[in-house]
C-alpha cells in the first residue's frame, strides 16, 4: 500500500493524501461534520487540486463498498454462504423408545439421512463425538448437524 500522508486542517478537519501508482496525487478531506471530499491534485501546480465529489458520511460508506474496501466482508460472506445450507438440531428421545439400547451404528443414521450425530446430552452431561457403538437411551438429547431435510429425516427415524 502507498504511504498515506496526514495533514490536520484546524477548524476544518483532516486531509489524507497519497501518490497513486501512475504518479497522481489523490487525497480525501474529511470535514468535522463527517462530510468527505475526494481531491485530485494538479500535475502542473502540485499545490492545487480539484474536488471531484463531496460525500456525506453515508455516501462515503457506499463509495468505499464500491471501491472494494469490503474484501474482508466478502470473505466473511462466503463463509456464511457455505454454512447457510447447514443446520444444527437438538432432538430429544422419548423415555420409552424403540431406539433405546440400539447403537448409533445400528441405526445407520448418517447413511440414511446424511446428518451426523455430533454429540449426546445425557443427564446434563454432554458426550462429544459419540462413536458408532455408542448406545442411545431414552431421555437422551441428540445433537446433529446436516441439511434441513436430512435433519427432518433423522428426527423422524429417532422418534419413530
Amino acid at each position: 500500500m502507498a504511504q498515506v500522508r496526514e495533514t490536520k486542517l484546524p477548524g476544518v478537519g483532516v486531509r489524507h493524501d497519497f501518490t497513486t501508482e501512475d504518479g497522481t496525487d489523490v487525497g480525501v478531506l474529511v470535514h468535522r461534520d463527517g462530510r468527505r471530499e475526494v481531491l485530485v491534485y494538479d500535475t502542473d501546480d502540485p499545490d492545487a487540486c480539484t474536488s471531484f465529489v463531496s460525500l456525506s458520511a453515508a455516501d462515503s460508506r457506499t463509495i468505499s463498498e464500491l471501491l472494494g474496501a469490503s474484501q474482508v466482508t466478502e470473505v466473511v460472506a462466503a463463509v456464511q454462504q457455505t454454512i447457510e445450507g447447514l443446520a444444527i438440531e437438538w432432538i430429544e428421545l422419548a423415555a420409552t423408545h424403540a431406539t433405546t439400547n440400539t447403537t448409533i451404528g445400528d441405526g445407520q443414521y448418517r447413511t440414511k439421512t446424511g446428518a451426523s450425530i455430533v454429540a449426546i446430552i445425557r443427564e446434563n452431561e454432554s458426550i462429544p463425538a459419540p462413536g458408532p457403538d455408542f448406545a442411545l437411551l431414552g431421555g437422551d438429547v441428540v445433537v446433529a448437524v446436516g441439511t434441513i431435510t436430512g435433519l427432518a429425516e433423522l428426527r423422524d427415524l429417532l422418534r419413530a
Binding site: 495533514t7 486542517l9 484546524p10 477548524g11 501546480d45 499545490d47 492545487a48 480539484t50
Partner: protein, 404 residues
Amino acid sequence: MLIAAGSSEVALGFIELGALIFALALLARFAGRFGITAIPLYLLAGLAVGEGGFVQIDVSVEFFDLGAEIGVLLLLFTLGLEYSESELKNGLRTGLAPGLFDMVLNALPGIGLGLILGWDPLAALLLGGVTWITSSGVVSKVLADLGRLGFRETPAVLNLLVIEDLAMAVYLPVVAALIVGGTVLATVTSVAIALATVATILLVAVTYGRRLSDLIAGGTDEAFLLTVFGITLLVAGIAQQLEVSGAIGAFLVGLALSGRAEERAETLISPLRDLFAAMFFLFFSFQIDPADLLDAAGPALALAVVGILTKMATGWYAAGRTGAGPNGRMRAATVVIARGEFSIVIAALGSELVDGPELGALAAGYVLVTAMVGPLATKFADHIPIPAILSQRHTAANAPGSTV
C-alpha cells in the same frame, strides 16, 4: 403593552430597524454574488445613515447600540469556539515562528503610523492590532467558496489564523486592561489579573473543557441555545464589572466549550452572530463622521498598501515553510490580506480614548480596502505575475512534479 397600544414610536422603531436590516440583506446578497465579504459594505451603509450621512436614524439607536455590543460578544465567542484545544496546542507548537513573523511585520506599521500621527501610545498599540489581525471569518469563507480547503498551502494559512487567535487571547485582555488605566500600579495589577484569568480559563478549558461541555451539551436546540447565550452574556457582564472587557469574557466562554457542545454552539449561535455582528459593523461606522473618514482617507490608504504587502509577505513565508510552490505561496499570500471583524472590534475597544474617533475612522478605511482587495486578489492569484527573484529558487524543485 406598547405594541398593543399602537405606540407610534414603536411603529417608527420597527420601520427603521426593518428598513436597515433589509438594506443589510441586500448588501449581503450583493457581496455574495461577487464573492467578497459584506463587512466593508455594512461599514459603508453605517456611514450613510450616520451623522452627516444621507438618512438619519434616531428611534432605534438605543436598540442598535445594545445589539452592536451583543454582536461583539458573539464575534469573540465564535472566535474562541473556532478551534479545539488540540488544534490550539498543535498550533502553538508548529506555528510560533510564522506567528512572530506575522506579528512583527503587521503590527509595527500600525503602531508606527499611530506614533507618527502623534497619538497616545495606547491608541497606537490598538492601531497595531487593527493592522495585524487577519479576518479569520473572511479567510475561511473565501477558502471554502473557492474550493481551496484541500490545497497544500491551506494548512499553513489556517495555522496562521490559529496563532493569531491565540495571540488575541493575550493581546485583547492586555489592551483592555490598559484602556481602563489608572495609576501605573493599578494598570499593572489589572493586566496581571487579566492575564491570570485567561491563563486559568485556558488551563481549565484544556483539562476539564470536555467534561464541563458535556454538562451543558444535551437538551433540545432551544434549551441549548438559551443556555449558551445566557452563559456568554452573564460571563461577559461579570467580566465587564471586574473591568476586564466583556468581549474577553465571551471569548473565554467560547474557548472553554469543546466536543459536542462546541459543534452545537457553532451551528446554533452562527445565525444569531450574523445578525448581531451586522448590527455591530453598521453601528461602528454609524458613529464615524464621514468628514473624519475623508480626513483619514490618505493615511488609511497608505496604511492599507503597507498592510497588504506585509500580510502578503507573511502568507508567502508561512506557505513556503510547508513546501508550497510559487503559485501556492501567492495564493496563501493573497488570501490572508483581508482584515475585518477583529480589526473593527479592536478599534471599538479604543472608542473612548482621546484619539478614538480618528482610530475608528482609520480602522474603517483600512478594513474597507483590505477586505475588498483580499478576496478579489486571491480569486485571481494564479494570474498575478510572481517576480522572477521570488520564483527562481523553486522552479527547479517543482520540475519533477510537472513532467508526469
